[in-house]
Amino acid sequence: MPFIPHTENDIRDMLATIKVGKIEDLFDEIPASLRIGKLDGVPEGQTEQEISRLMMDRSEQDGRPLCFMGAGAYDHHIPAAVWQITTRGEFYSAYTPYQAEASQGTLQLLYEFQTMMASLTGMDVSNASLYDGASGLAEAVLMAVRGNRKSKSQRILVPTTVHPAYRKTTRTIVKNQGIELVDVPYCSDGGNTVPDSLRHLEGEDITALVIQQPNFFGVLEEVDALTDWAHAQGALVIAVANPTSLALLKPPGKWGSKGADIACGEGQPLGVPLSSGGPYFGYLCCKQPLVRQMPGRIVGRTVDRDGRDGYTLTLQAREQHIRRSKATSNICTNQGLLVTAATIYMTLLGAEGLARVARACHANTGRLVERLTAGGYVEPMFNRPCFHETVLRLSLPLKDVLRPLYAHNLLPGYDLSQDYPELGNALLVCATEMRTADDIELYGSHLDRIIKTQTVAGCPVEPKMA
């Protein structure tokens, strides 16, 4: 069988059959004003040699800075075996196979992944993954709108402590579907969403409440009170959770008296390298009553005619190849390769190993905060407990401090001034299990020196000769 399905002849025959001159004519229906014309920024095809050189140059632009940045993607140790096994020929495909049942090994792996994610989040079911955490939240919002049939408002409460990029992506995906995303402000002392601040919304028709734990500031939200409040209003609860944190924190399925209804998030911390921002994968889990609203692939375990275990794609009536325009989502694939890595990562670490990673991250971030605040020019922004990330307030203009740190090949944290200008000189910092005591000391000593040169009155540099 030829690898390229349509030869020039095939295409000519097909066009002749339907009496169309050229392929371009098939797109005539789309008004010219909506068409983009030429893609000027995209070059013509390049050779493997050219593209290798381009990608190598691009990847080197990142350098290898010492990373104290998180903000949604985290620098964790990935055991060498993870990608050694993931890139074996048997696993090395980006997709769920189309002849799915012929690939029992792939299906078993996805089933194991789903089992691990359901167990980590305390949910009944998981799908086989989505594109990333941000689109995962958008899909969770769409699920909640379909699943909460008592609510007619299509109003979703979204605290501003939810990752800004997730909020933006979700808005882009749902804004033209009559869904209203309502901002919920945070408490400036705690950096959290205060349950009492929602009181004025009581009695209104609310479809769902989103709760990110830990939130974008790294702060722990009062998930039990928020969950119970939402359920009392007839709203569903969508949890956005960092999977590493779930090794220590209460799983979303146990929040409040009934538990969150949907849990989603970014899977990158589970064995996926930072890699300049992607590819990553999103996870999506839910309680049993919502399973038919879930998008994406779901693998189930069954028995064959002879009673032997077998794995199969299940609940496919939700998906677009069967349900067409009424499918739960246009997503009918998953991030197979990254999920393979995550499954192997979780298998190698086990529950105890993942808990140790989480504890080490929490402890290191505590040490980092202690070291950076020792000089008196930096202090914690919020007074609530954090997991492995936290916001620091600097008494100097942020850019004057960050620039020299970048020059020392350090990623000192995420500058919050774009997303949260009201916080002033606010820096979101994170020290994972990868950061040693020496790394933290290096950051601290650079920061001390930079602050000193900028705060010595008059002349910032000591004269060389008296």
Partner: protein, 131 residues
Amino acid sequence: MSNIPVDLKYAKSHEWVRANDDGTVTVGISDSAQDQLGDMVFVELPEVGASVTAEEACAVVESVKAASDVYAPVSGEIVEVNENLGEGPEIVNQDPYGEGWIFRMQPSDADAVGGLMDAEAYGAFLDSESH
């Protein structure tokens, strides 16, 4: 040849409608529809109290082959749903015109049911669809 009881009315989207003495109507899917869909695995029921308009999708029947919407044959309010289908969706296959009913509604216009097809017209409609 599928079973088409003469005492019922039918919609083009394959629902049957039974007029009850209390003015409400009971709705299910026809024998032909359940046969086409195959073994039922799930029925998503409407909310009691929901207002629906004629030809609006208000329930879903999911079989091993497909998931299909069930449409309100007339406008009105949903007054009861067949909770037994939650645990036993196969009842729709076994007894589509009896125990396999899906919901009961109070039509907003008592005469609207008269506008639906009778058994003879529905039989002819099925014939025309299969050719």
